[in-house]
């Protein structure tokens, strides 16, 4: 039994349960940070945008997985 290998695998799975969800969230955070840094959105709107992106990414991930399993 490779316990250390299993520990790293578990740690990876904790944050990358769905690779596309993880990438989309990280991309959303970078996008909001850039928009905030360049003054395109204000500090209040940036927070609301971040929340909206997170909700949208969650919805896409759930419905994508549902479609994938339904069509199997």
């Amino acid at each position: 039994m490779n316990i250390l290998g299993d520990v790293f695998k578990e740690l990876f799975k904790m944050f990358v349960a769905d690779l596309r969800l993880t990438i989309a969230i990280l991309a959303g955070i970078v996008a909001v940070a850039v928009l905030l840094g360049q003054g395109v959105v204000g500090p209040v709107a940036a927070g609301l945008l971040l929340a909206a992106i997170s909700i949208a990414v969650l919805g896409e991930a759930v419905l994508r997985e549902t479609r994938r399993r339904r069509n199997r």
Binding site: M1, I3, D6, V7, E10, L11, M14, F15, V16, A17, D18, L21, T22, I25, L26, I29, V32, A33, L36, G42, P43, V44, A46, G47, L50, A51, S54, I55, V57, L58, G59, A61, V62, L63, E65, T66, R67, R69, R70, N71
Partner: protein
């Protein structure tokens, strides 16, 4: 009562407590399988050793994070909490919709028992294997609890409070488990996972924003509407996913 009791302290400790219930119930199933197959000694030794490792991780990592500047720490912890919370929420929604099967403790117990019984070797070797199985189960399930405790603790300096929440959950599961002496299959694991996913996602968005320099209307109070939005979205998504899943493919 601290001014941020309802917005920060209570949700943080509750998240640590509920997440621990979910994980400890899963670990307890394996430990019980070890105990009923090979005796309580390897089960207890493996469990105590894993708890010691997890305790060490929390004790070292928690205070060490205090040396990182608060905005960087909040951004880092916020992103990790968001990814972790969204992962739990996604899975809980899919299970709630019937797209993914619910976690079955009875089945997990039967699988682990069969695996242990299939092992061969001297009694000492078998006890070693059983002890390592218990150690691994508690360590792997406990990693998520340790992360939540450290993350929640580091973001707002609530390491001890979050640890107490997690330890209370451990004690509760062990007391109930010792009393019923069978897998705790009646625990509404997915509902707990749903709730924790909602709370951690809200914390994640909040702290990621704080780390980026976002000004939240109402400061900490925004956590409540954020959690409400994630909860309502999760419920709506579960309904939509169930309807979509039950429709035959086009």
């Amino acid at each position: 009562m601290p001014p941020d009791f309802w917005t920060v302290l209570f949700p943080a400790v509750t998240a640590a407590f509920l997440a621990s219930i979910v994980e400890v119930v899963e670990a307890f199933t394996i430990v019980l399988a070890v105990a009923t197959t090979r005796g309580w000694r390897p089960a207890i030794v493996g469990t105590v050793a894993a708890l010691a490792v997890l305790g060490l991780v929390v004790l070292i990592l928690g205070p060490a994070l205090q040396f990182i500047p608060i905005h960087i720490l909040q951004l880092f912890v916020g992103i990790l909490l968001l990814l972790f919370g969204m992962g739990w929420l996604r899975k809980a929604v899919l299970r709630s919709a019937g797209v993914l099967p619910l976690h079955d403790e009875i089945e997990a117990f039967a699988e682990e028992t069969a695996e242990l019984q299939a092992q061969g070797g001297s009694p000492q070797t078998l006890r070693w294997i059983a002890g390592i199985a218990a150690f691994k189960a508690v360590l792997l399930e406990g990693l998520e609890v340790a992360f939540i405790v450290v993350a929640v603790g580091a973001g707002k300096g609530l390491l001890w409070e979050a640890s107490l929440g997690a330890l209370a959950a451990c004690a509760l599961v062990l007391i109930v488990g010792a009393a019923v002496h069978k897998p705790l299959s009646q625990v509404p694991e997915n509902t707990l996972k749903f709730g924790v996913g909602v709370m951690l996602s809200a914390f994640g968005v909040f702290w990621t924003g704080e780390g980026m320099g976002v000004e939240w209307p109402g400061a900490d109070l925004i956590l409540l509407p954020l959690a409400a939005v994630f909860l309502l979205t999760g419920i709506a998504l579960a309904r939509a996913a169930r309807t979509s899943f039950e429709r035959s493919p086009a």
